[in-house]
């Protein structure tokens, strides 16, 4: 019995058109366009301060944008309040972890389904599935504030899964993880988009993870797109090599 089946299960692509965002004098995003299909994993990369987090923030309505449009299929979500964008099928995580610290792990995940309109019973069912997917079964009754760091990010991802979004934007899910943990995360994430018909956008500085996980990459530098394509195509683009010069990042 599902009293809150995702109504956006037929949504088309997430389309971002010519997005511009200024902070006072700083142009953080300069006419950035990209498209995210369901079932695909898109890597959004770029040096520190290139505008990756800002892009996620404007797409999800946390920051107002100064130009451009955001659409899911043919539904315009530009400048809608964040909760409406979430209900339109867009989930996200945060670079600086944001959990509900005084709620249990179960409640953290459950509330995402509840806010999509599920009864608590159905929300619990959904939450348990997401919790198992992230391997958090042993922690369900704990407060989020009691979790070790590595698990906090997993709870954030499980919470987003429980929304059953059409598109999910992950902001540095591997930050602070060691190589082993990051490999684990990779194994967990890789099969999910195809299985759920989920469009996944991943921001990360861990190039090993990005190169192995992503079908396509989108590269930002100083708020501008400097390259797009498959991982192999992108690592041959001169501007990308230049932006990452001195880093071992493009090695793959």
């Amino acid at each position: 019995m599902s009293d809150c089946r995702s109504e956006h299960s037929t949504a088309g692509e997430l389309i971002i058109q010519n997005i511009t965002k200024n902070f006072a004098g700083l142009r953080a995003l300069d006419s950035v366009s990209l498209t995210l299909k369901r079932g695909e994993i898109l890597g959004l990369i770029g040096p520190n301060g290139s505008g990756k987090t800002t892009l996620i923030n404007v797409i999800t309505g946390l920051l107002p944008l100064d130009g451009g449009r955001v659409l899911i299929g043919d539904v315009e979500i530009t400048n809608k309040p964040p909760y409406e964008i979430a209900r339109a099928g867009l989930g996200r995580t945060f670079q600086t972890i944001r959990l509900f610290r005084e709620l249990t792990v179960m409640e953290n995940v459950e509330v995402a389904a509840v806010s999509m309109g599920c009864s608590r019973k159905e929300a619990k069912r959904r939450a348990l599935i997401a919790i198992e997917e992230m391997g958090l079964e042993d922690w369900v009754g704990r407060l989020a504030s009691e979790l070790p760091y590595g698990l906090e990010r997993k709870v954030e991802i499980a919470r987003a899964f429980a929304m059953q979004p059409s598109f999910l934007l992950l902001d540095e899910p591997a930050a602070g993880l060691n190589e082993e943990e990051s490999d684990q995360l990779l194994d967990m994430l890789a099969p999910i988009p195809e299985r759920k018909g989920l469009g996944l956008l991943i921001v990360d500085h861990d190039m090993r993870l990005i190169m192995r996980l992503c079908h396509r990459l989108h590269v930002l530098s100083y708020g501008k797109t400097i390259g797009e394509g498959t991982p192999d195509e992108v690592r041959r683009i001169p501007q990308v090599i230049e932006a990452y010069l001195g880093k071992t990042a493009v090695r793959g």
């Binding site: 999800t60 309505g61 946390l62 309040p81 964040p82 909760y83 979430a86 209900r87 989930g91 996200r92 945060f94 944001r98 959990l99 509900f100 610290r101 005084e102 709620l103 179960m106 409640e107 953290n108 459950e110 509330v111 995402a112 509840v114 806010s115 999509m116 009864s119 608590r120 348990l128 919790i131 079964e137 042993d138 369900v140 009754g141 704990r142 407060l143 989020a144 504030s145 009691e146 919470r159 987003a160 929304m163």
Partner: protein
Amino acid sequence: MKNTNAGILWLKSHTTPFILSIPLLILAVLVQAYGDTLLVRIVTVLFINLVMVLSLQVFMGNSGILNFAHIGFMGIGAYTSVLFSMTPQAKAATLPDLYPFLRPIHLPFLPSLLIGAIAAALVAALVGYALMRLSDAAAVITLFALLVIIHTILVHWSIVTNGPRTLFGVDNYTSLGISTFFGILVIFIAYLFKETPVGLKLRASRDDRYAAASIGVNIVQVRWAGFVLSAFLAGFGGGLWAHFITSFSPYAFYLTETFSVLSMLVIGGTGSVSGAVLGTVVVTLLREGLRAVENSVNIAGVFPNNLVGFTEVVLSLLLILILVFRPSGLLGSQEIRLANTIPLASGKFSASELSRESSPKEGEHV
């Protein structure tokens, strides 16, 4: 059959309101049977305080917004309910200028309480729509302004409140039994509210409003719902108090009472119904004890001058100590429950591992 099992399972994971109510119920029964007039009064007040503190917890505890306006809603409930419950003769004596259409109305006690509660909820619903957009300091200051506004209206709307003067002639309907019944009812309401979808979303928005919005929580809407329920219960508590004390002025619903109710909640722990109950019991009993000490010291003439404000000073000190050493209150945000009944999906770790002692104190995590 299946339903009864589900019901039992549900009860097992929600023991909190029962654990909180049973000792209070026993206390009320014992005092009713053996207590003298003073003790009956103290315990009646205890349960009225419980309604006020728990109703504050419903909004403040779950939304995280410090609500200074709360006692204003108590005032609205008190004045509205007595306008409906007083006899026409009593109204003529204390409110000679009352609007003619209100003069002949004379309703029983409970409908009057309900009307008072609805009036408070309506006011909250109207102002809340704008107020609930604000957060942090802006919200606190605006709610304080709301308290001042409600107070000013009560003081100046002489036709229905007798102005700054005392309104008298209210019937004494709030017995120990009545206040016990509603005090315990509100324990259940406050506990169940936390577990409703709205309550859960409100608690999420308290912990992180950006994360809550990003999973689809309409924060203004859930805050509004909590605010209106909180005001409804406060209005109800105001009615209970009015029909206990039987004569009062608008100054009863101002800073002193605000401080008193806030300190009960903060000392016990804002985040949980258990904390609210414990804080109410501790502070109410402590206050009566201190007052007795203060009186006997004065009667014995230990000091050349009378001891004044001793009770208030000690309670304020207690509040400060709690804020310094246990900022989340005596009980913090975890409910008291039977140790082996925490709702779990897997039993891979022991219940003692989950008990609240193992959780870090507020401010400990970086």
